[in-house]
Symmetry: C2
């Protein structure tokens, strides 16, 4: 994603544009996996040698509150972050604890249709995410 789009995202969320925030969002959007705060800080070390881990934490929290990113948690106890906002699902690799994104439009349609017909009494669904646990067979 190009820097101007990121700037625009921050601006429309009512946040000041700082180099750190732009860089943190950039890292998250380019990330293959769902990084922890520490991983984000690590990847910023080249461009921002002086960046503070505390700032990364607070920035991620801020972005999360503004709904620009999401928090993700698995059973390893560390908080991870996700810049994807479209409906998607997660593949948990049991051995390594890694989480990959899983996009499946056909599945989304099945789920939407299912819950359109059969709603859960008294519960208003905002989001559905599949957590698919398993392991890679050959690699």
């Amino acid at each position: 994603m190009i820097s101007e789009e990121i700037t625009e995202m921050l601006k429309s969320a009512g946040l000041k544009i700082t180099p750190q925030r732009v860089a943190i969002l950039q890292v998250l959007m380019d990330a293959d996996i769902h990084p922890t705060a520490e991983i984000v800080a690590e990847r910023l070390k080249n461009d921002f040698p002086g960046i503070s881990l505390g700032t990364v934490y607070t920035t991620l929290e801020t972005l999360s509150q503004k709904k620009l990113i999401c928090k993700v948690q698995v059973d390893d106890g560390k908080l991870r972050f996700d810049a994807k906002t479209e409906m998607h699902h997660h593949l948990h690799e049991i051995d390594t604890g890694k989480i990959a994104d899983y996009f499946d439009e056909e599945l989304n349609n099945i789920l939407k249709q299912y819950f359109a017909e059969k709603s859960i009494p008294g519960f208003d669904i905002k989001d559905i995410k599949l957590h698919i646990k398993g392991e890679y067979t050959n690699k």
Copy 2:
């Protein structure tokens, strides 16, 4: 669940039968929500005034390794535990952070059939769990 069944579960997992372990499993199985270690300890205070929080943690970890219970995590950063072993799903109430179980055999069948036909390349699925986020409308 009656105490003899719990004893049997522990025995077949190769664990020694101690009053603490039986009580912890009992609490988890009777729990309406998914308790944290602290909540479990709290509920045990009546019957085991001297029980240690550390013991609760280590016991829950042991039970989890023996697959008698599962770890559950949401975005509040606390580890929670679940004694349900059948396939089921979770309703996250956004406001309160509470997690309720959601059983739906019809949905399970749809998911099983879907992934039987359309497998994910190179990925061997062990478990599928829906995390349904939303809020209760009227209560």
